[in-house]
């Protein structure tokens, strides 16, 4: 685990091209040096990251075939064997990353960049090719009838919680891949998070209409054991769409992020005590145009937020201050997004899913 001071210094180790479409999800496979990322088309790639930070960018080793629409979330077991993906194709899939592959294929990882350069008459970059092992999913969960918008894995890996645009939240027995319980929301589920003790869930809701009276934004804490509402936080977040949520490892803090496209720098992070009522704390500055993802650092004290401004912020949650800003706003008026973020189990690396078609791996060092 890096010392807190080291979190103030992040170095970009590798940019991994994956430009078939927007990269939408990213995840380290447990405590291994393996990294998975998914994109808007439903493709999932796995890389083995090198030991040496100055090694050349690694090529992907595996491609996981089966999803037919955007990947909304990737989670993995601590042993790094099982990767679980949620998708807009209405399914959740289990992938055994140690299974024997079913074949091999050669990919051009920067095909889109080459095509665009050719169309514009510019210099076409050399092809970045990789031969990958391909494999299908071992299990497909079909509990939703619309996009699965978010997925959370419990710390003990016994439970999965999924939320969908069908308005259902489903609690799954993860090892058995069986549905345990479900409850319905008045609108679409947006972000979901499970408390470390498996007793509480945060679910945010949305129906993104502008003027119709059936527009809806909601945030509630649920008792997972009964599927009933513990606390309705909607009045604290009136009209606000919460796009991301994460519990701290000790469960004492719950972080929420304001998403959708919001005006100016109002993509705020909110911190609250999930066990007792009280006004949420607001962290400033907010992300320009909105937050896309939140992830607590394994030390439990720090939190990373990503946004529609191509920036990742690392926060000291006790001091409510930015420790570091990773990346810079790029583009003109509207920026590309960093769609998703993930810390490695030891907290030394941070991976980001970049809408521009790449995965970045950052290292924290003293």
């Amino acid at each position: 685990m890096p010392e807190p001071a080291a979190l103030g210094q992040a170095k970009l180790l590798w940019t991994l091209p994956f430009d078939a479409d927007w990269v939408t999800a990213v995840c380290f496979l447990g405590s291994t040096r393996r990294l998975a990322a998914g994109n808007n088309l439903g493709q999932v790639l796995i890389w083995d990251l090198p030991e040496q930070p100055d090694a050349p960018p690694p090529l992907p080793r595996r491609r996981l075939d089966g999803h037919t629409n955007a990947i909304s979330r990737l989670v993995a077991t601590a042993d790094g064997r099982w990767l679980i993906s949620a998708s807009y194709d209405h399914t959740i899939r289990y992938w055994d990353t140690q299974a024997s592959p079913q074949g091999q294929e050669t990919l051009t990882l920067n095909a889109r960049a080459r095509e665009e350069a050719g169309r514009r008459g510019g210099k076409v970059p050399p092809a970045v090719e990789a031969t990958v092992n391909v494999q299908p999913a071992t299990q497909v969960l079909r509990g939703h009838r619309d996009w699965v918008s978010d997925l959370a894995l419990s710390r003990d890996e016994q439970l999965l919680l999924s939320g969908g645009d069908d308005g259902w939240v489903v609690l799954w027995d993860r090892p058995a891949a069986k549905e345990q319980r479900r409850w319905q929301l008045p609108a679409w589920a947006y972000a979901v998070a499970l408390s470390p003790d498996n007793r509480q869930a945060l679910v945010s809701e949305r129906r993104p209409l502008v003027f119709d009276s059936s527009r809806h934004a909601g945030v509630r804490l649920w008792d997972v054991t009964s599927g009933t509402v513990q606390r309705d936080l909607s009045s604290d977040f009136k009209g606000i769409y919460i796009s991301a949520a994460d519990y701290s490892p000790d469960g004492k803090l719950l972080a929420l992020g304001r998403g959708g496209e919001v005006d100016g720098f109002n993509g705020k992070v909110f911190l609250l005590d999930p066990a007792s009522p009280g006004k949420p704390r607001e962290l400033s500055p907010g992300h320009q145009y909105g937050i896309t993802d939140l992830a607590f650092h394994p030390d439990g004290r720090h939190l990373a937020s990503s946004g529609r401004d191509t920036v990742v912020r690392l926060w000291d949650t006790a001091a409510a201050k930015v420790v570091q800003e990773i990346g810079k706003p790029r583009g003109s008026q509207f920026k590309d997004w960093i769609h998703a973020i993930a810390f490695s189990a030891d907290g030394r690396w941070l991976a980001t899913a970049d809408m521009a078609g790449a995965v970045q791996v950052w290292a924290f060092s003293a």
Binding site: W147, D165, V210, S214, E261, F334
Partner: protein, 423 residues
């Protein structure tokens, strides 16, 4: 009290003089359509009982995410096509109920229009003329009200709700201006009298007495217009119970969807049933420069039940064969997806849907290329669309009006009805 025949029963002296002057001398006098709207023409059209409902997608709906999907293409987005009642016609997965009514729909996938932004697009797609022209063209609703409306009815001939057109009655004159309701389809609070009916009646009688006295010495047209407007407002108040959906809404809200737009579509059905010639219902939230897909998904979940239930009800009541239902907005949306997960305005290749009265359903007209960037077959202009709509409604698209001495046609020169779309 005027002992002679009312204005609507004969061509008025004023209209006759203006028309004569125009014909004979070409002098600059606007006729407000007075001559063209002869009782004979109006009665002929009225006998056919044609009506029109415009479902207006304010901001511009995305054709690729609704009726012209491009699965597997870089422009395709995350929505998937589904089969429909008509083999070979696929539409978006988020329009499942409408998919059961494609036998009634004529989907025009080859709109190529000229006004790329909102105010000019709204004007253009309501009038079929460019906003930049100095002539004040009337909206389609005013035109339909003029030729298909009943001038003696208590209800207005042109009613609209929510975000809709911006041109008004134009050169047709104030009697064809729209009667506007809120986006929830409810009448304004001031339509409820704050005195009882008997007192309201006494007030009206007193007002008429005073106005009659006043009119003896004041013959100018604005005074007469004011009196006419007031009388029409009173007539409307007598018939206002039609706008109250509170009693019957619970029975139908599940089918129409419990939304403002659903309620307005239900009211539209009631209004055309009661004889209103043109009803426009606007749905907002389509201008999705950001988050296009969630916006469209949410919108389609509102649109699908409302539009489907409207078609079902019109059909069940035998009204659909005489009621043209138009689905359109001012622009389409770009095939490419921007870095806000949005689609911007696009007018080179987009989609409009017609159904019902005078239209041959169960067909797709025109086509776009593989990525939806260009029209591949049968481009359709604003003028062609309006010529088709007017023809389906029994209105001659080459009907001529005069603005001063200048002749103006209902559709621009060169516009042609699309015969393949007409029943």
């Amino acid at each position: 009290m005027n002992p002679f025949c009312s204005k609507r029963e004969h061509i008025s002296r004023r209209a006759f003089l203006k028309g004569s002057l125009c014909t004979a001398g070409g002098l600059v006098v606007a006729n407000w359509g007075g001559l063209v709207h002869s009782p004979t023409i109006a009665a002929d059209v009225e006998r056919r009982g044609k009506r029109c409902i415009l479902l207006w997608m304010n901001g511009g709906a995305s054709q690729i995410d609704t009726f012209d999907l491009k699965p597997g293409r870089p422009t395709g987005g995350p929505f998937r096509p589904i089969a429909t009642r008509v083999p070979g016609i696929q539409i978006c997965e988020y329009l499942p109920r409408l998919a059961q009514h494609t036998d009634k729909l004529a989907v025009i996938r080859s709109m190529r229009t000229e006004s790329p932004d909102h105010p000019d697009g709204i004007y253009h797609m309501h009038t079929c003329y460019k906003m930049a022209e100095r002539t004040p063209h009337p909206e389609i609703g005013a035109m339909v009200a003029k030729y298909l409306g009943r001038i003696d009815a208590d209800l207005p001939s042109f009613v609209r709700m929510g975000p809709t057109g911006n041109a008004g009655a134009g050169y047709l004159g104030p009697q064809y201006e729209p009667f506007s309701l809120g986006r929830d389809g409810k009448l304004s609070y001031f339509t409820t009298p704050y005195v009882d009916a008997a007192a309201e009646q006494r007030r009206g009688d007193l007002w008429r007495l005073l106005e009659t006295e006043f009119a003896r010495d004041h013959h100018a047209e604005p005074f007469a217009s004011h009196r006419l407007a007031k009388e029409r407002a009173w007539r409307l108040l007598r018939a206002k119970s039609i706008f109250d959906t509170s009693k019957d809404w619970p029975e139908v809200c599940e089918r129409y969807g419990n939304t403002d737009f659903g309620r307005c579509c239900f009211l539209a059905r009631k209004l055309v049933e009661a004889g209103v010639a043109f009803v426009e219902v606007g749905q907002d939230n389509y201008d999705s420069h950001a988050d296009n897909f969630v916006c469209h998904k949410a919108n389609m979940q509102v649109l699908d039940p409302a539009w489907s239930a409207l078609l079902e009800d019109l059909d069940a009541r035998g009204l659909l064969q005489d009621t043209l239902v138009i689905w359109m907005g001012e622009v389409g949306r770009t095939p490419y997806i921007n870095n806000r997960a949005g689609r911007d305005h696009y007018i080179r290749a987009w989609t409009i849907v017609l159904a019902g009265g005078g239209i041959k359903g169960g067909q797709v007209y025109g086509a776009t290329d593989a990525d939806g960037k260009e029209v591949k077959d049968n481009p359709v202009s604003e003028g062609d669309l309006f010529a088709t709509i007017y023809t389906a409604l029994g209105i001659n698209p080459r009907t001529k009006h005069y603005v001063g001495t200048r002749p103006v046609w209902a559709t621009p020169e060169g516009s042609r009805p699309i015969r393949e779309l007409l029943a």
